[in-house]
């Protein structure tokens, strides 16, 4: 084929990545606008329009052409998740942001783009690049807070990231060496018989683990979540993590290992370890953000259980859990943001907010949903998780999945210990400190938004179809 034809095809195929293109272009426009004006509303507007347009293109998308389909992979699930990411990105606008608007939103868009590419990647090269893109943005955003400890967290994060990416790169190199190809779609189980390539896959998985904050690559999480700007953290905890998990899921689907393969068992083991580490780590945290960050580590573990399945059957559970998780985390971090605005950082300080029943009540609902108690969306998510694990146990007879189920159940109980700490302080704890006259008032706007989040969690419990129909809507568009 002539080069000219190739280029022509590529041009034609560019519509395939239309939504990403829009995001990138929007990001650049935003950056340039930022140089001209600091008008917050305008920046938010551009940001929103970019995301909405991108969303539109995302769900409008047509099947990709020959060239791009080598590098990128696409299916309904990925489109759904891309939409989820875009929505999550869009909801960042509800977080107040006073300074550095243009750059911040630029990086947010970059984060979303990187995560979408991460999911879509079919080529090892794209995997690497997109993970690095996401990582770079994360390093920058971590230092983007205006606190001193942000830099420390940033540099540590970077060190972890560099090590992980080096490990992953070696893994990619090894895989490439054996398979002689970049494309994961051509993988067959036979290719993975030799030891070296298994090491390669393991290293690749480790690289993704880093993005998903899975044991033992979770260590950067608490410090980062603690010191990065809250709106950024809200997105960190959702978009790259889910992107990485979707990628992981595809990797394992393509590997098509038997469920009792040691790699699967190993990953499941790490998943359980993640749940345990996240849960127990959170028990001793007194800073709210650190606590939630450990909680989100545990959630990664739960999600990992849904990713490493022998077949595609459990994608609904995964999709549901992800959506609920997205909503819960956004909500939790939004409320934390509001509280931090009035200088509440540690759990025990919540006793200062006795007057603000609505806010504290909303927060309680959100936390309870994170634990997984009905009637909130978090429960349905847990229910799907447990159901899927049980079904896997029935299907494969794998004791590991049963153990996973039990670990999840007990972790759910244990998670109550720390999540309920905040309502405990907010409602029950007697406030002995001298500054009890310190009254806390929240703006009407933040109260309304927090309430909307809580109500959404309730509504999703009662109409779980909503999330499913969102997905099927997207699917229909594609078919």
């Amino acid at each position: 084929m002539k080069l000219r034809d190739q280029l022509h095809d590529i041009l034609h195929d560019l519509s395939f990545i239309g939504s990403e293109t829009v995001l990138v272009l929007g990001a650049i426009v935003l950056l340039v606008t930022g140089l001209i004006t600091k008008h917050r509303l305008l920046l938010k507007l551009i940001f929103s329009i970019t995301l909405i347009f991108s969303f539109y293109l995302n769900i409008q998308l047509v099947e990709g052409g020959l060239f791009l389909s080598d590098s990128l992979f696409m299916n309904a699930e990925i489109v759904s998740f891309a939409s989820l990411f875009i929505i999550a990105g869009l909801s960042i606008v509800v977080f107040p942001r006073k300074k550095h608007g243009a750059e911040f939103y630029f990086f947010i868009l970059a984060l979303v783009v990187g995560s979408i590419f991460m999911m879509k990647a079919n080529s090892l090269l794209i995997i690497y690049l997109s993970i690095e893109l996401v990582s770079f943005v994360s390093y920058i955003l971590t230092s983007f807070s205006f606190r001193k400890e942000g830099h420390e967290a940033g540099i540590k994060y970077l060190l972890f990231g560099a090590l992980s990416s080096a490990i992953m790169l070696i893994g990619l190199g090894l895989i490439y060496g054996i398979t002689q190809s970049f494309y994961i779609s051509i993988w067959t189980p036979e290719l993975f018989s030799s030891l070296l390539v298994q090491v390669g896959v393991l290293f690749l998985v480790f690289g993704v683990f880093f993005k998903c904050a899975i044991f033992p690559f979770h260590m950067w999480t608490p410090a980062t979540y603690q010191s990065a700007p809250v709106d950024a953290v809200a997105l960190f905890s959702i978009v790259p993590k889910l992107g990485g998990l979707v990628l992981l899921k595809r990797v394992f689907l393509n590997l098509a290992f038997d469920f009792s393969h040691w790699l699967i068992l190993l990953v499941l083991f790490f998943g359980m370890a993640t749940i345990i580490v996240g849960t127990f780590g959170a028990l001793r945290q007194f800073n709210t953000r650190r606590m939630i960050s450990f909680g989100s580590i545990a959630h990664s573990g739960f999600l990992l259980g849904l990713v490493i399945t022998p077949s595609v059957e459990y994608k609904e559970a995964f999709w549901w859990y992800s959506s609920a998780y997205t909503l819960m985390n956004l909500a939790a971090f939004y409320v934390i943001n509001r509280y931090e605005d009035v200088s509440i950082y540690t759990n025990s300080q919540y006793s200062l907010s006795k007057k603000e029943t609505l806010m504290a009540g909303g927060f309680t609902l959100i936390l309870v949903s994170l634990v997984g108690i009905p009637p909130l969306a978090g429960f349905t998510a847990k229910l799907f998780l447990f159901t899927s694990l049980w079904e896997i146990f029935i299907d494969t007879g794998s004791k590991t999945s049963l153990t996973y189920l039990l670990v999840s159940v007990f972790a759910t109980v244990a998670s109550l210990f720390f999540y309920m700490r905040i309502p405990y302080y907010a409602f029950l704890h007697k406030n002995n400190s001298s500054n009890s006259e310190l009254s806390i008032v929240f703006s009407q706007r933040s109260k309304i938004i927090a309430t909307i989040f809580a109500i959404l969690l309730l509504v999703l419990f009662f109409t779980p179809k909503l999330i499913m129909s969102l997905q099927s809507l997207l699917n229909n568009v594609h078919e």
Binding site: I28, S71, F107, S123, E132, F136, V137, I140, Q180, S194
Partner: protein, 163 residues
């Protein structure tokens, strides 16, 4: 040929050795450039000339200078050596050696398939075309990454300068 290989190997080992054992950062930076040059030599031996050129240009020329700048900007160079202490040496050494042994073991256990392809004459052209066709997405992506990194680095540096 073998002599060249040995020479290159020695360069790398020497460079890495200095990095590992030296406490002086400036020395380490020079040693790094030595090692990187050695690695560039390896690339040449591996028929990857373009990569070798990129390595020398970007790494030896860019990264090392960047590091040197970093050292200079963060240390008072005049009069004193820029030393770095070391810690956890023993466990770290164990870990490092263990990893080396394991990797080496897996390498020795593996049979590598395929045949070496003959050296290509128009390597640069081939790569250039591949950038714009097969790897167009990656190419665009890395462009964006560069932008992000640039903006990020500049912005952070500016923040630092402002405070």
């Amino acid at each position: 040929m073998l002599a060249v290989q040995i020479l290159i190997g020695l360069m790398i080992v020497l460079g890495v050795g200095i990095i590992v054992f030296s406490r002086n950062i400036i020395h380490a930076a020079y040693a790094l450039s030595l090692a990187l040059l050695g690695i560039a030599g390896v690339y040449v031996l591996l028929n990857a000339e373009l990569l070798a050129v990129v390595q020398i240009l970007i790494y030896a020329g860019g990264v090392v200078i960047l590091l040197a700048f970093g050292v200079m900007m963060t240390h008072r160079l005049r009069g004193e050596k820029v030393l770095s202490g070391a810690k956890n040496q023993f466990p770290a050494a164990i870990t490092a050696i263990a990893i080396f042994v394991i990797l080496a073991h897996s390498i020795s256990e593996t049979n590598f398939p395929g045949n070496k392809v003959p050296k290509m004459n128009n390597q640069v052209e081939h790569i250039g075309v591949a950038f714009l066709t097969e790897h167009i997405v990656a190419f665009e992506l890395i462009a964006f990454i560069l932008l992000v990194a640039l903006v990020g680095a500049a912005y952070l540096a500016k923040l630092a300068a402002n405070e």
